[in-house]
């Protein structure tokens, strides 16, 4: 990693601190302005085809005790990050949370990790420096890739060339925290297939789906980590591969697709960098539940609420999604990916996916 980016990131952080300093000196109340990070303040960026934050701003101001505490934590975090960059080291979000315990003032300590995670995101937004460039990484690194792709990864121990089928075990290639350290060398892939659950990924790998269809199977593992989303984006942009997403058939899974495709509300400031607007949803669609007569669970109240809130989510306001969500509300049922096994273990690889993929024009 270049010291240039380090110095750059550090510069940005110190600029932030200097702003606080000036505010004090002017006799102004120190404050930090951020875009409001709620679903009501995201809008579609027509140029980039992603959802980004709108114009509404929130102010963290020292005028209230809460705001003052936040700003104090921010300056402590800035101090810590600046030092970390100086020493070219990195730490995890969780480590930051625990580290705050060692800060000399109790007021600066984080109450929980959500708070410290959020603060890092705040700093990303105001400094316009990505978390990865602060050398902050999540606890769990990105998920795994399996498929016909040869790449080169810069590691602490030097560059490694890895083929994501031949050089890896059954588990696949582990995506590093900062996928920008990867260089794509060669591939035979036809498309990217993102899979929500580990069980389904294993089924596809066991059935040799990646080999048969030249698919890059990317395991999302629930809400995909940034690194995963970044890699998907790069696979699409740099290798020009179509991206498909295969999840459970419930509102929570639609959000997983949403964050791959449209970007998440929390990181809408990074949508351009993380989101793959061209990603396509395979299923399970509510339509499939009916068509394939899948075993289902009834929708819980929280599912219904989630579906209804998705209907109001600007990211889901397309004809396709409105139709699917309303259908699901209508039938009152949801189904897991594994429910396809009710038609036999090979049904998913031999029938469902080929059918859906050709329908979508990927195959």
């Amino acid at each position: 990693m270049s010291t240039d980016t380090n110095a750059d990131a550090r510069e940005q952080l110190i600029e932030l601190a200097a702003e606080f300093y000036d505010q004090f000196e002017e006799g102004d109340v120190p404050q930090m302005t951020l875009p409001t990070r709620t679903k009501s303040n995201i809008e579609y960026d027509e140029d980039e085809n992603v959802w980004v934050y709108g114009d509404r701003q929130s102010t963290r101001s020292a005028k209230s005790v809460r705001g003052a505490r936040k700003l104090l934590k921010a300056i402590y975090t800035i101090d810590f990050l600046a030092e970390q960059l100086d020493e070219d080291r990195s730490s995890t979000l969780r480590e930051l949370y625990y580290l705050s315990e060692s800060w000399e003032t109790d007021e600066a300590q984080f109450n929980n990790q959500d708070e410290s995670n959020q603060l890092i995101e705040d700093l990303e937004i105001v400094s316009e420096v990505k978390r990865e460039d602060f050398h902050m990484r999540p606890e769990e690194s990105g998920a795994k890739v399996m498929g016909p792709l040869l790449l080169r990864e810069q590691t602490n121990r030097g560059d490694r060339d890895i083929h994501c089928q031949k050089d890896v075990g059954q588990g696949g290639y582990q995506i590093p925290n900062n996928p920008d350290t990867i260089e794509f060398l060669d591939n035979d892939a036809e498309f990217v297939l993102c899979v929500e659950t580990g069980g389904m990924r294993d089924r596809l790998v066991e059935n040799g789906f990646d080999d048969e269809y030249n698919a890059l199977v990317v395991h999302l593992g629930g809400q995909p980590a940034r690194a995963t989303r970044r890699l998907i984006k790069r696979l699409h942009d740099e290798l020009d591969l179509p991206v498909t997403v295969f999840t459970d058939g419930d509102p929570w899974s639609y959000r997983i697709f949403g964050s791959v495709s449209y970007g998440s509300i929390k990181s809408a400031h990074l949508s351009e960098y993380l989101a793959t607007p061209e990603a396509q949803f395979i299923g399970i669609q509510p339509e499939d539940i009916v068509e394939y007569d899948l075993p289902t669970d009834p929708l819980a109240d929280s599912d219904i609420n989630a579906l209804e809130s998705e209907l109001e989510d600007p990211r889901f306001q397309t004809d396709y999604w409105e139709e699917q969500i309303e259908l699901q509300l209508d039938i009152g049922k949801k189904a897991e990916q594994q429910a396809l096994a009710s038609r036999g273990l090979d049904f998913v690889t031999e029938t469902y996916l080929p059918e859906r993929l050709s329908e979508m024009g990927v195959l």
């Binding site: 110190i14 120190p30 700003l71 007021e107």
Partner: protein, 812 residues
């Protein structure tokens, strides 16, 4: 056991035997057996009650003499007993009165007085003497010195309980260092288990008597309560009783004692708010009750029958004179719409005089009586010659009209007819030929008639209909002119006196005057609270006088909050009646009930469940001043639940509590502000420090930002070298939402010159006080400038803004 056989024959002997053991018991003897009624039920309580009685007496005595009370109470353990000494600086008691005051129950000057005073019955102190002699067997030792006498009187006495008289064992003169006053020493059984109540009593007495100095020395502790004011309570004027506030026994006693002969004189002399007009109204009402009214009947429209009847009844007066006499009477009577018996008597006597004068004849009393009877019968239509079939005569028709009008149209004619007929019948058969009835008798007629009619004719006549009939008839009946009995006749006529009392109560009479009351006043209630409770907030309210049962009363309330008052547990409720603390029977008192019923949450106090005594550092005091405080018992521990008094207690408390509410609201917001400031004064400097760390700059000055955050008023000083001296600028920045008026004082150790902005400088002991008054609008600032020596030092002091809202930057 004796057998019935032997006793049955000797009944008279038994009765005699019993009679022998029956005798009158003295009041003293009665209370000896019923100590609890006076608050001497236990040793602990007895001691407190004795102190209370003696102190109440002492305060009353001093105040009456116009002396600021100075009272000393001492309790000392003496072997198995406690010795109680109470000394006052009152006027002293004369040698003649002294034994009776202390040695005779129910001897007192106040029982009959309508005036606010602590004691009322003349029981208290002598009951204490009685209690001491009963428990210790020792006499009470009393010293008293009246103003101007060279020596004090000293008595040792006990109460002879058989005949409620003092029994003096020692009587001598002695010397005493007080110029005037009274000292009583009693030994009694007791214990100090009620120490808390004793302290409460003395402390509470001090609160409501801010003009008194009190001292208590008991075996363990010693307290002094100094005066908060030199103002004696306003002197009260004794008022006569109010006609609505007396009972029959009192009326009888007053009738016995009065110098008036006539009832009118008695009413005007002995009662308050009774003048001649009111007295006339009372007497009219009394006449109605005592004599009843006479039924007035419609006379026949044609006077011929009356004239004929009178003429027939008059003999030997010559035809012309007789005719003239009869004509005159007939004419006068037919002029009336209705005629009562006494009006006929009057008319006949007038005619006798007029016609007699004209014709030179005398119509004597027999002639007049005959004429009256004849005219009356003619009016009633019941003369002997009249038709025997209608013995009721004209009465029935007359009553039919009244009844018909008074009852609803749904009553059928036959029912009205029967009812009227039966009432007429009762009139006819009454022994009193004058048709004279009291209201009660009339009601009985109507009831009887209605019952009969219901029984025989199967018609229902309800209570309302009956009442309407009674009122219709009563309203046409005439008040009689009879002379009301003299006072001397009433005094031993219980029934007539009761009728008089009824008449008094039925008459509208103005409320009694209130100069008989001496409220503490809200100002002194507050002063009293301030004196005894170290709190942050005090409020008090005094209500206007109100009346219940003829006794005027005033309620006052005070509230103290915060400070050193205990924060855990319930509020302390202090109850007072006529400046006397009530320490027992809290739960039975109207005051406590009212306090519990108030929703204290509305006043920002904690009240679990929304009712009951509130929690927190609160003292609530209520004082009821009245000429007659209605206690629940003789021991005077609790005020009875009289609705008028409860209403006033509530209003007084609410009035005081309103101020508490705004205080607590402000205090809460100030507390929040203080908390915020506390946190921020912690956070912001750390933030500033870190910011300077990260940026590598010097620590920024955060005071302006701080003042802005807190919406504070910031006062800061800035110094600038200016030739030999320095220029000083004191700047006020108002970051608050309202304009502020400040009083800024900068204390400078060298002479300031060139003061700007109307500021002044005053020198004191080598220091100059630069005073500057300034108004600064919200968001504005103002600057004071002056010059002084470079080596001067400064000290800034700001008034007019709450400390929570003020940031003073005193650096140079």
């Amino acid at each position: 056991m004796t057998s019935f056989q032997s006793t049955l024959g000797e009944e008279s002997e038994i009765a005699e035997e019993l009679a022998e053991s029956q005798r009158q018991i003295s009041i003293a003897e009665f209370f000896e057996k019923n100590k609890h009624m006076l608050g001497f039920d236990s040793g602990a309580r007895g001691l407190v009650t004795a102190v209370k009685e003696a102190v109440d007496n002492a305060l009353d005595a001093a105040e009456e003499a116009g002396v600021l009370p100075d009272i000393y109470v001492e309790i000392e353990e003496v072997g198995d007993y406690y010795k109680l000494v109470v000394e006052d600086n009152g006027p002293g008691i004369t040698k003649e009165q002294l034994p009776k005051v202390f040695g005779k129950l129910l001897y007192g000057s106040r029982f009959h007085a309508r005036e606010q005073s602590r004691g009322q019955q003349g029981i208290g102190i002598s009951a204490a003497v009685l209690y001491s002699q009963l428990t210790s067997g020792k006499p009470a030792k009393i010293t008293s010195r009246t103003q101007g006498s060279s020596e004090a009187e000293y008595f040792e006495l006990i109460i002879d309980t058989d005949n409620n008289e003092p029994e003096i064992s020692v009587e001598e003169t002695t010397s005493w260092d007080r110029p005037h006053g009274t000292r009583i020493e009693m030994e009694m059984e007791g214990n100090m288990r009620a120490r808390q109540q004793l302290h409460d009593y003395i402390k509470h007495t001090a609160v409501v008597n801010p003009h008194a100095r009190l001292e208590l020395r008991e075996p363990k502790e010693h307290f002094k309560f100094e005066r908060a004011t030199d103002r004696l309570p306003d002197e009260t004027e004794e008022i006569r009783p109010h006609p609505h506030g007396v009972e029959l026994g009192t009326v009888l006693k007053m009738l016995e004692a009065t110098n008036s002969h006539s009832v009118s004189g008695f009413l005007q002399e002995e009662f308050t708010r009774v003048g001649s007009k009111t007295s006339d109204s009372v007497i009219d009402n009394f006449r109605d009750r005592h004599f009843g009214r006479e039924m007035a009947w419609e006379p026949p429209r044609d006077g011929a029958d009356i004239a004929a009847a009178v003429s027939d009844a008059t003999a030997n007066k010559g035809a012309d004179a007789t005719d003239a006499f009869a004509e005159e009477i007939a004419e006068a009577l037919t002029d009336h719409d209705r005629v009562a018996y006494h009006q006929i008597v009057e008319t006949v006597s007038d005619a006798a005089e007029a016609v007699g004068d004209g014709f030179g004849v005398t119509f004597g009393s027999t002639v007049q009586e005959n004429a009256v009877e004849a005219a009356w019968d003619a009016v009633l239509g019941v003369s002997d010659e009249a038709d025997e079939d209608v013995p009721d005569g004209r009465r029935r028709a007359d009553l039919y009209g009244l009844v018909d009008e008074a009852t609803s149209t749904r009553k059928d004619d036959a029912t009205v007819e029967s009812l009227a007929s039966r009432i007429a019948n009762r009139f006819r058969n009454d022994e009193d030929d004058r048709d004279r009835l009291t209201h009660d008798e009339l009601a009985e007629y109507v009831d009887w008639a209605a019952e009969r009619t219901a029984e025989r004719e199967d018609a229902s006549i309800g209570d309302t209909a009956r009442e309407n009939v009674v009122e219709a008839v009563w309203s046409v009946m005439e008040r009689v002119p009879d002379e009301v009995p003299k006072v001397s006749d009433l005094a031993d006529n219980r029934d007539a006196s009761s009728e008089l009392l009824d008449a008094m109560r039925a008459t509208d009479i103005m409320a009694p005057p209130t100069n008989c009351l001496a409220p503490i006043t809200d100002e002194l209630v507050e002063a009293g609270l301030k004196k005894e409770f170290d709190a942050d907030f005090y409020a008090a309210a005094t209500r206007d006088a109100e009346v219940t049962g003829g006794d005027p009363f005033i309620v006052e309330a005070g509230i103290a909050y915060g400070g050193e008052l205990p924060t855990d547990g319930k509020a302390q409720v202090m109850r007072f009646a006529n400046r006397v603390p009530l320490v027992y029977q809290r739960g039975a008192c109207a005051t406590t009930d009212v306090v519990k019923d108030i929703g204290w949450r509305n006043y920002n106090l904690d009240q679990p469940g929304g009712s009951g005594i509130p929690n927190g550092p609160v003292v609530i005091m209520v004082h009821i001043a009245s000429t007659n405080v209605p206690f629940t018992s003789e021991s005077k521990d609790a005020v009875a639940n009289i609705p008028e008094i409860e209403d006033e207690i509530e209003l007084a408390i609410r009035e005081a509590a309103r101020d508490l509410k705004s205080f607590l609201k402000k205090r809460r917001s100030m507390e929040k502000r203080r908390k915020k400031q506390d946190v921020l004064t912690n956070i912001l400097p750390e933030m500033a420090e870190k910011v300077s760390d990260v940026t590598g700059n010097e620590q920024p000055d955060i005071s302006d930002a701080m003042a802005r955050i807190m919406n504070n008023v910031r006062v800061g000083r800035d110094l600038k070298e200016n030739g030999d001296g320095q220029k000083v600028s004191v700047t006020v920045e108002n970051h608050s939402n309202a304009s502020e008026s400040l009083e800024v004082t900068d204390i400078v150790t060298a002479e300031p010159t060139g003061l700007s902005d109307g500021a002044t400088a005053v020198e004191m002991d080598g220091e100059w006080f630069v005073k500057w008054s300034v108004d600064v609008g919200s968001g504005d600032d103002a600057t004071l400038t002056y010059e002084t020596d470079t080596d001067a030092s400064f000290d800034l002091d700001v008034d007019g803004v709450e400390t929570e809202k003020l940031t003073v930057n005193n650096e140079h």
